[in-house]
Every structure is written in C-alpha cells, then in structure tokens.
Subunit: 310 residues, 2 copies
C-alpha cells in the first residue's frame, strides 16, 4: 500500500467558454469536475498503474463531499482516508478559452484547519504509516496549518521507517527539507526559490546539503535531474512532445513512488517517472495519462549518469 | 403568502482577485456564496419586507444542497418548496477585479430537467397556487424544459385565479406573453427583443397587444415605465445614484409583487419598486437593499402619468 497526503484537496472544475473576455458575462458551454489536489492526482495515477493506494488529507463542506463522491466513482481503486474538517474544501476553476486554447486559473485558498483538526489528522496519519511501503506529501498547506506541518510529517514517517517523498514549495518545503525526507521533487522554480540558484546541478546539490537524501528536479520538457546518494542521473523523453502539461509533475511523482515501492534502482524509477509524465502531456484529458504512450515510451526514455562509488 | 418560481436556481459565488489577467493563475482572496436565481432573490427581498414567501423551482446535486442550506441559514423567513432533480444546480461565478472594480461573470447552463421532473414540478406548483395571493415566474429555463414552459405556468396560475408576474427573456417570454400574464417586467433589451422596438412607449404598448395585461419596463437609472389597463405611468428615483446594479431588477419585481399582494394602486406599487431597486443599487453588498435608503426614498419617488378613463 502506498499513501499519499493532500492537506489542501480540491474540487477541480474546468469551464469551456467560446471566448473569455474581461468584464463580460459568459455562458459556460461545458463543465467538468474532478477530485483534485496533487496527492489525489498522484493516487489516481498509482491506482491506474495497479498499486494499492490510500489518500489522506482533509475534506469538508459540500465541496469536500463532492470530492469524496467523485473519488469513489471515478477512482474506485483509491482508498479514501480523508479526515473531515468543518471548513469547505476549496474549488479550483480552470477557464479554457475555446478560441485560443489558453487557460485562466482561479484557485480558492482552502478551509481554515483548526488545531484540533490538525491533531486528528496527525493521529490518522501515524496509524496509516503502520501499513504502507511509501508515503508522498503533496501540495500547498491550507490556511491555519503551521508552516512546519510537512517537517513534522516527514519526521513521523522517518520514525516509522516509511520512505517519504515531498512535493511542495516555498517556506513549507524549506522547513521540511531540513527534516531529511528521502526524496524531494521540486520543479525548476521551486528549486531556485529553495536554493537561490538557477543552475540545476548546483541547486540539487545544495538541496541535498540542506537535508534531502535525494533530489529529483523536474525540468519541464528536458525531463528529470536526480541527485541521490547512489549517483547522479538525467532522464529525458526520446523527443519533445506537445500537449497539456497539467498533471505532468504529479505523474512524475507517481512514477517515482511506484519504483520506490517496488525497490527498483534509480534509473528504472526515473524512466517510469519520465514516461508517465510525458504520457500525461500527450493525453487529451488534463491530468490523465495515455496508457499506450506510457508503455511505448517506457523503453525509450534516455537515462544518463554516473553511479557514486560505494 | 407570495410564491416565486425559479426553474434555474443557482449557487451564486463571488471571487475577489487582486487583478484579473487572462491566461494567468490567480489566488482568490475572498469567496462569498449566496443562494441565487432571480426568483430566489425576489423571495429574499419580499421576506425582508415582512411578507410570507415560498420559493419553488428545481434544486439538485451538491450545489442544490448548498443552495437549500444557505436559504435556510440566511433567509429563514423564506419557505423552501424546491423540487429535487437528479442534475446539479448551476453555479454562477462573479470574478471581481479589486483593482478596477469590474466584474467578469461565468454562468453554468444548469441541470438537464427530465420530463418526469418537469411533471413533478407542475404538480407541486398547482398545489402551491391554492394558498398564495400572487406568483412570480423568474429567470431563464434550464436545459431540457420546453420553451413554452412559462406559458403553461401562466395558464395554470390564471386558471387558479392567482395574479402572475413574469420576468424572463427571449423565446420563453414571447411564448408566455401570449398566455396573458397579469404583469411582465422586461428590461429595455428584453422589451426590444420581444417587440422589435427600441422606443419604450411604443414597445410596452406592443407587448400589451401581444397579451400582457400590464407591462412594467425597467429602464435602468430612468426608473420604470408602466403600461396598464388602469393607466400609463413613469416612476423615477429623486436623483441618479451610483452603485452596483446587480439585483436591482429583482428588487423591482419584489416591490411590484409586494404592492400587488396588498392590492395597492399602481402608483404605490411603482414607488415601492423604484425605491427598492434604488436602495439595492446603493447597498454595498450585491443583491441586498439598504433599508434606511429604501424607507427614505419611498416618499420621494416621482410618479407621473395619466389614469385611463374607466
């Protein structure tokens, strides 16, 4: 069983409008809804790969109810261990302009989580750690949580001997890196914000010095750069692809976790992550991955690097 | 008891964002939610005026549940007689740019109402008509309903001897006018679309020829023009006011219904409607009215016109 944590789950809503104009009134021509938040997306991809997955985090209000209903109906392989909160789960609205294809995004901040709710979550989390092979901590913190929330969750996982992957940003990332997570997966901007360096090789090295045992930086179309105690690798798709990058980072996390749970060596984990994220860009539905493309890409990801002498 | 009908109820959501930019990602700084749809708004204003009010129409899904919860908590004087549907009540999203003050509006289409649900509604409506002094039919039709839906509801009300006010637009208005509603309240655009004339005096006359017993056209800051079998009146606020016109038309409908239910003569109904809609423009909260301003304005609305010789 793999566990993913999404403290700020979301009801992801997509609106299609013929043409978005500021200060005008629009009739939405198509509405789609998905259960969202990074860890929920990771969980869906893991379930699609055949893993047993549990998702936890918070869900509340009518929107939280919808997220749980959609999770049950659209991702039946995912076990829902979300913890109830009094506040309402946030909505995110992606407004797709059908004329230009561009997307305008509106993200609600999320519910204010009380100290009692945070404490209840930590109990659930600690219980779940007893039966999982890996855990991923994903996304932003909702209002009300201490900025060191992820640092605490990293320490709890490490105390329970469960390998922990962290995918967040800003001050929450900075604090949690110091708690020595097994893997952090920043994108180029998050890595630069953490380390002050825009040079990925230097920045991943710096992130390891700050506490991360392994750093896997996602560099967009260039693929992944992994800096680990076993060695340094670059993994890239066989060619650049065009498509919708929404969810590509979450798919990379799912690939890394999938390989971690199966004790694969780093090059295989990276191949899986790059193939999955590329297959996500290629899928016509945002956040889904194209399974045929994934299987075809898996053997064609280029992984180059050097193994550190033991 | 006054009845208002909202076939396409809505969860009205307002987002405040520092500055709305197309194709960018925005963190919403403030989220507010209200139960919406024209008839629901009219019902809230009537309840605030001290009338007994029942609202009916359709509500479904998680959003319909939220609309009913909000109605119970924020408009406790309004009796909820909404009919359940399998589809989800639509959301409307008003994105307010805090820098410019402008609003960009996104309206979902609403649930597809099945013939069985429409039939269930008609039974509820006919039952409710037995105990009401007036009924208002408000707003757009959700997908799935016949375009003659309002025409049927007008005929049912007239057969039950309940005076009926109609506030809709387009083909639904055209069909229902022919069923001889007691009052229609188009705005200038709706009236021009119905009659082909942009000259209000000519257009209101034409709308009466098409079947409406009385036509009250809302002409924005100029107030109301009423063409009735008792006479022709213009009613205007004492001075032009600045503010948010959202909900001003619904408040005018509430004023007309309030006066109708109390058998007031036309000039008093029109004074009430203009004072309420002006007090709504003056309120800092969209769709609410400023009670002190309403009471102060009530004696200062100018009503000019001529009474038709009996």
């Amino acid at each position: 069983m793999i566990l993913t944590v999404t403290l700020n789950t979301a009801l992801d809503i997509t609106y299609r409008v013929p043409s978005l104009r500021q200060h005008a009134s629009h009739r939405v021509s198509e509405v789609t809804e998905r259960p969202g938040g990074k860890g929920v997306n990771v969980g869906r991809v893991l379930a699609a790969l055949g893993h047993e997955v549990t998702v936890t985090g918070f869900a509340g209000g009518a929107t939280g109810h919808e997220v749980r209903d959609l999770l049950a109906s659209e991702a039946p392989g995912v076990v829902d261990a979300l913890v109830p909160v009094a506040g309402a789960t946030r909505r995110t609205i992606a407004v797709v302009d059908q004329h230009t294809g561009d997307t305008t995004q509106l993200n609600e901040p999320g519910p204010v989580v009380t100290p009692a709710e945070w404490s209840a979550f930590q109990d659930v989390y600690e219980d779940l750690l007893g039966s999982v092979s890996a855990v991923a901590l994903c996304g932003s913190l909702p209002p009300g949580l201490p900025v060191g929330a992820y640092a605490g969750l990293v320490r709890t996982a490490r105390a329970a001997n469960v390998p922990v992957l962290l995918d967040t940003s800003g001050e929450a990332l900075r604090r949690a890196v110091a708690a020595r997570p097994d893997i952090v997966k920043p994108n180029a901007d998050e890595l630069a914000e953490l380390t002050g360096s825009h040079e990925p090789l230097r920045a991943t090295q710096d992130a390891r010095r700050r506490g991360a045992r392994a750093v896997v930086a996602s560099l967009g179309a260039e693929g992944l750069l992994a800096h680990t105690s076993d060695g340094l690798w670059r993994a890239a798709p066989p060619s650049r692809v065009k498509g919708n990058p929404t969810g590509a980072g979450d798919s990379a996390v799912a690939g890394l976790l999938s390989g971690l749970a199966q004790h694969l060596p780093w090059p295989d984990r990276l191949s899986r992550a790059v193939a999955l994220s590329t297959a996500t860009v290629l899928s016509p539905v945002a956040g889904e991955f194209d399974r045929a493309a994934y299987e075809e890409l898996l053997g064609r990801v280029s992984v180059t690097g050097e193994v550190t002498a033991a």
